[in-house]
């Protein structure tokens, strides 16, 4: 097992591995998402308070979860890259960041679309939305720093430090925003599955979360392939690859 991991960390092996795995994950994610959408948009009953408006949670909740998950992946990979000086780990961080930012953006958009029927306005300084907004800022800072250096590796290592600082800060930010929100008694509604949700409502949600995870994995692998190619452009195996295709 360990040997296999070690082998996986070698860029050419990883590249071929991702080449094989990504399409499978991609198609699978499409199927799962379609199934989840069918369950969420057709099979699930309308909410007794929110009517059909609640159905946006089938996009909102998975993207909000993925936005956090992607940051964790990014920060973990950054730590691995800094501690064990693994080049592939830095490539993972750089590959995942724009995806995480996109999920965060999607969560913000769907959250505010949901806000219109709920609150009558597209934006309310709700604790969760505010936290997502700050998360988006953190992603943007990471991406900006990652691209600011001429030398790719310096950018990788600098932004890895920033990602770790961010990951220490996220719980503090999250908590402080919640505290701030209760202080000012902002409107809050609960996103996500509540205990009284019937199975026909929450099962599609879980399916959607699974689908988003698979989609994230597939796209990360694809983006990671590009990052690996850029970083290894001077090595022999990349030249061979370019010449044969």
């Amino acid at each position: 097992m360990f040997v296999w991991f070690h082998k996986l960390a070698s860029p050419p092996f990883f590249y071929r591995f991702a080449q094989k795995l990504a399409p499978w994950l991609g198609w699978l994610s499409l199927l799962v998402i379609l199934a989840g959408l069918y369950g969420g948009l057709w099979l699930a009953p309308p909410d007794y308070q929110q009517g059909d408006g609640f159905r946006i949670i089938y996009v909102h909740v998975p993207s909000a979860m993925l936005s956090m998950f992607a940051y964790m992946v990014m920060a973990t990979a950054a730590a691995i890259g800094l501690i064990w000086r693994m080049k592939l780990a830095h490539a993972v961080s750089a590959a995942v960041a724009p995806l995480g930012a996109s999920f965060t953006f999607l969560a913000l958009i769907t959250g505010s679309l949901w806000g219109k029927p709920m609150w009558g306005t597209y934006w309310v300084w709700d604790a969760r939305l505010t936290s997502e907004l700050i998360l988006l800022f953190l992603y943007l800072g990471y991406i900006a720093l990652n691209h600011a250096f001429e030398d790719r590796r310096t950018g990788d290592r600098a932004s890895a430090i920033l990602a770790l600082v961010g990951v220490v800060n996220i719980p503090i930010i999250h908590y402080s925003v919640q505290w701030w929100n209760t202080l000012h008694q902002g409107q809050t509604i609960f996103f996500g599955p509540k205990s009284e949700m019937p199975p026909s409502m929450y099962i599609p949600l879980f399916i959607m979360i699974l689908g988003f995870m698979l989609f994230f994995a597939a796209f990360s692998l694809k983006r990671l392939q590009v990052e690996v190619l850029q970083r290894e452009n001077k090595s022999a195996w990349v030249r061979e690859l370019v010449e044969t295709t």
Binding site: A148, A158, I161
Partner: protein, 221 residues
Amino acid sequence: MRYRAIIGRDLRLAYRRRGELATPVIFFVIVTALFPLALNPDPALLRTLAPGVIWVAALLAVLIGQDRLFKTDYEDGSLELMLLSPISLEWIVLLRVFTHWLVTGLPLVILSLLLAMMLDYPMHAIGILVMSLLLGTPILSFLGAIGASLTVGLRRGFMLLPILVLPLTIPVLIFGAAAAGRAALGDHSAAPLYFLGAMLMLTVTLSPFAIAGGLRVSLES
């Protein structure tokens, strides 16, 4: 002895370039003065806005001062000497950020008294405002130093620094402004002050590692 020499160096340099030190302070005053002009000089309105305005202005002023923290040392090669010193870089950085706060952050705290008066902030609460700034601005200095260490090698680092650091400063802003705001209304403000204190401890302990790491990376190429 050694540590005294390191602190003494920065104090001496700061004293010889007094003009540069005034920049964040002037910025602080000007930004604060913009709010009554943009909104309405009604004392009742200003009183409710005062904690937030002073805190936002202080936050921006600290960050502005932080860009120069390592820049001149990077340009004249003294930063390399600090990295090559057998004294741990984390210690050096801790001392230097603290010294920098003494000459840039502390004047802001003192000046906030004046600005609080101009914004009709209630006098009975002024102790809490100063306390919140005393606990909060060092955190901002350390967070700003993280950004400064990561961008010191970049030509347009001063543009990038606020983008990197501002999201990280949000908890400080929330608790700092809340402490000052609650005190103005006569409420208890111990809770946010405790939070600020805890965050200060955390920042002083952990951020020197991030700053030192950032400097090492920045000087690598």
